[in-house]
């Protein structure tokens, strides 16, 4: 299956197993602009798979209420770039519902999925991860943001089990082990890191350990620290802008926990501090070449 097929499958399983589950958002009824809801309305009916008006704050607020009312509410935000009108509902309401009510109420049944570039809270690098992580998000009693790197919808193909399974949230994955340097990323960027690891290995035998963080909040500090303490050198890489990107948090936590094991400063290779450009995208991106340059810099330290 490719990633969007894996996502349809995960939603199909969700709707099949839980009669309270609903899937909604803009254009989901006909199958979705990225095909992630194909065939679901025909199978489960219009009460459970339905279109909403174009209103992200409404989608988020409605989803919260449905979850408070006991539904497994799976909302789609058509493009992650459109999520900002929902910011208030997500940040001030969904994230705080349990805490501010003293655990009297919660909207744990809410999952928001959104096609994105490569920024998010839970973010799969492939089809196998997409299905497992999405099922975990839907089943966890906390509201989740699940971001789907749209460039991987068709290109990321895996052997994906047909049956239901979950991958643990808050757990990083060591995709390629290595002893010389730790490369940390998520989503699409993991594939770039794997490419870099292969290239530097064939060039001079440097063994890079590539870690897919998978979850941003909560994130797997333990796995990261174990790796950095072993290698002593680390690069964090993401497509989002450099300043205050999540890489900054990871870097700060690493230096606090692994200071004495570091052989070189922590390097971040990220997007430029600009809005995402169109024609000049190749220069904005944290490319393989920028990463290889960073690897060499750290090795020489």
């Amino acid at each position: 299956m490719n990633m969007f097929q894996a996502i349809v499958n995960a939603l199909d399983i969700t709707l099949g197993k839980d009669p309270s589950a609903i899937v909604f958002g803009e254009d989901v009824a006909f199958g979705g602009v990225f095909r992630c809801t194909m065939g679901l309305r025909e199978k489960y009916g219009e009460q459970r798979v339905f279109n909403t008006p174009i209103c992200e704050q409404g989608i988020a607020g409605f989803g919260i209420g449905a979850a408070v009312g006991g539904c497994k509410a799976v909302a789609e935000i058509q493009f992650a770039d459109y999520i900002y009108p929902a910011f208030d509902q997500l940040v001030n309401e969904a994230a705080k519902y349990r805490y501010r009510s003293g655990d009297l109420f919660n909207c744990g049944g809410l999952t928001i999925r959104s096609p994105c570039s490569a920024v998010g809270h839970v973010i799969p690098r492939g089809a196998y991860q997409a299905k497992g992580l999405l099922r975990a998000c839907i089943n966890t009693p906390d509201p989740c943001l699940f971001f789907e790197p749209k460039v991987l919808y068709r290109s990321a193909e895996d052997h994906v089990p047909i049956e239901d399974y979950e991958l643990p949230l808050g757990k990083a994955d060591i995709v390629r082990p290595g002893k010389d340097m730790t490369l940390i990323g998520w989503g699409t960027q993991v594939h770039v890191l794997l490419d870099v690891a292969e290239e530097v290995f064939s060039k001079n035998g440097t063994e890079c350990e590539v870690i897919d963080l998978q979850s941003i909040i909560p994130w797997d500090l333990e796995t990261v620290c174990e790796s950095v303490c072993k290698t002593g050198r680390v690069i964090v890489s993401h497509e989002a802008q450099l300043t205050s990107g999540f890489g900054a948090e990871v870097a700060a936590a690493i230096q606090s926990n692994c200071f004495l094991n570091l052989e070189a400063p922590i390097e971040r290779v990220c997007g430029l501090d600009t809005p995402f450009p169109h024609v000049l995208e190749p220069f904005y991106m944290p490319t393989k070449w920028k990463l290889i340059e960073a690897v060499e810099k750290l090795l020489a330290f």
Binding site: Q57, V68, G69, C71, E93, R98, Y99, N106, E222
Partner: protein, 452 residues
């Protein structure tokens, strides 16, 4: 038709991609047919007689240029049962309520009023941090609450405590929440008046305006499947109705057919902002028409009218799975909150009308007096007992300590994550050495909130 006309029509239509050149006819007789066909509808019906556009159903053509003017339409009238003096205006509209219920309605309104006085003063004295009174709006709470069942879910804004009191939420719980003490069901996480109670189906208040509105709609959608016949009532002010979330809620509720009552307390002010700076149209009720839902405007100080309207709204909502909008016209007699002083933006003359003449408690009282349901003796006894009870609860609330400091890190997730656990250990260690800087004796013991 002239050839130049056909050519122009063809170029215009091909520019907007409607028509291929095959459909264009050369003769005049066919031309009108082609023009008809080129704007034919999704139904395939010719629209010479009636419009059949994808975007609207059931409308007529107009051949006279005329703007629909809101002013010429007039305002939606205000429904009332009782006059300002408590006189019954229309016998047929008198709800069939027992004396017991009417007395309970009266007592609950007075309870809100008395509790407000005590808690407002307690803030001025520095004993609680903040408070919001409901002076003048008691009927909007009690009249609507009385018309619904306990299982109907309430999403409120912040000035609806009477709904909770009607449902049996105790003074003690309310006062504990205002203190944020260790007995607060909300665990001291939010400011005073941010009540919540699952047992009373009252979702915890949040400070942000109108965010509860689309949530109420989602919850109502869930109820269709889980508990048919149950509705959600969503309270909000006329100021909150300006927020985008209000528009989102109205649109979702109508398109998705959700059994929700939108109850707007139009009390004339949003802090200092009068309604003339909040909207230019015919209040909030007129907006409901635009979204396609039934609406009613009600005298918010007439508890029987509120009761009737809410009861009918629920029946309609359940029967047809539609939202209903009630706009209750009332007046905010008190300050917006303890952080506000209304003398800065309105006159005492204006306010005195709403305290001395058109007041919900007074109007029901007059109605009850006429029917010998109440008298000054009962009033005296009741108020005395009430004050005593409220003060007892208040004093008791003061004896409780504040919650365990470590509970500041609780309930972020359903299950404590590793990082939260680390932060908790760090905080505990810090307090074990520097606890004397934090007046820890005012709090429950460290770690006492952990379940074993």
């Amino acid at each position: 038709m002239s050839r130049s006309f056909i050519a122009t029509a063809k170029s215009v239509l091909s520019n907007i991609g409607v028509l291929s050149s095959k459909k264009v006819s050369r003769s005049g007789a066919c031309c009108s047919a082609f023009l008809v066909r080129c704007s034919s509808t999704k139904t395939g019906k010719a629209n010479e007689d009636k419009p059949g556009f994808a975007g609207i159903e059931n409308c007529e053509w107009s051949y006279k240029l005329d703007f629909l003017n809101a002013a010429s339409k007039g305002s939606i009238p205000v429904y009332r049962v009782l006059g300002v003096d408590g006189a019954l205006k229309n016998e047929a509209e008198l709800p069939s309520l027992s004396q017991e219920t009417i007395v309970k309605m009266y007592k609950t309104m007075v309870s809100i009023n008395q509790m407000d006085r005590v808690l407002y003063d307690s803030q001025r004295q520095g004993r609680i941090s903040f408070y919001m009174t409901s002076y003048g709006e008691e009927a909007t709470h009690v009249g609507s609450a009385a018309a619904l069942d306990m299982r109907d879910v309430v999403y409120a804004q912040y000035r609806e405590v009477g709904v909770l009191l009607w449902r049996g939420y105790t003074f003690q719980s309310a006062i504990n929440q205002c203190f944020g003490n260790s007995q607060d069901p909300g665990k001291g996480r939010q400011m005073p008046v941010h009540y919540g109670s699952p047992q009373h189906n009252f979702v915890t208040i949040s400070s942000t305006l109108a965010t509860q509105m689309p949530q109420a709609v989602g919850h109502a959608y869930a109820l269709k499947q889980k508990s048919p016949g149950t509705i959600v009532i969503c309270y909000f002010g006329e100021g909150a109705a300006s927020e985008g979330d209000a528009h989102a809620a109205f649109n979702f509720a109508t398109t998705l057919r959700c059994p929700v009552i939108f109850f707007c307390r139009n009390n004339g002010y949003a802090i200092s902002t009068p309604t003339k700076d909040q909207y230019a149209g015919d209040g909030i009720a007129s907006r409901g028409v635009g979204y396609g839902m039934p609406v009613i405007r009600v005298d918010g100080n007439d508890i029987l009218a509120i009761y009737n309207a809410t009861k009918a709204a629920k029946q309609l909502s359940v029967a047809e799975n539609v939202p209903v909008l009630i706009e209750a016209m009332t007046y905010r007699v008190g300050h917006h909150s303890t952080s506000d002083d209304w003398t800065a933006y309105r006159s005492t003359e204006e306010v005195s009308y709403w305290t001395e003449i058109d007041h919900p408690i007074y109007r029901l009282r007059k109605f009850m007096d006429e029917r010998n349901m109440w008298d000054s003796n009962s009033e005296e006894q009741f108020i005395k007992g009430l004050r005593k009870e409220i003060m007892q609860c208040f004093k008791k609330a003061e004896t409780f300590k504040k919650p365990d400091p470590l509970s500041v890190l609780g309930d972020v997730f359903s299950e404590e994550t590793k990082s939260i656990k680390l932060e908790k250990e760090k905080l505990l260690k810090h307090l074990q050495t520097h606890g004397d800087k934090y007046n820890l004796n005012q709090y429950e013991p460290l770690g006492s909130s952990e379940s074993s």
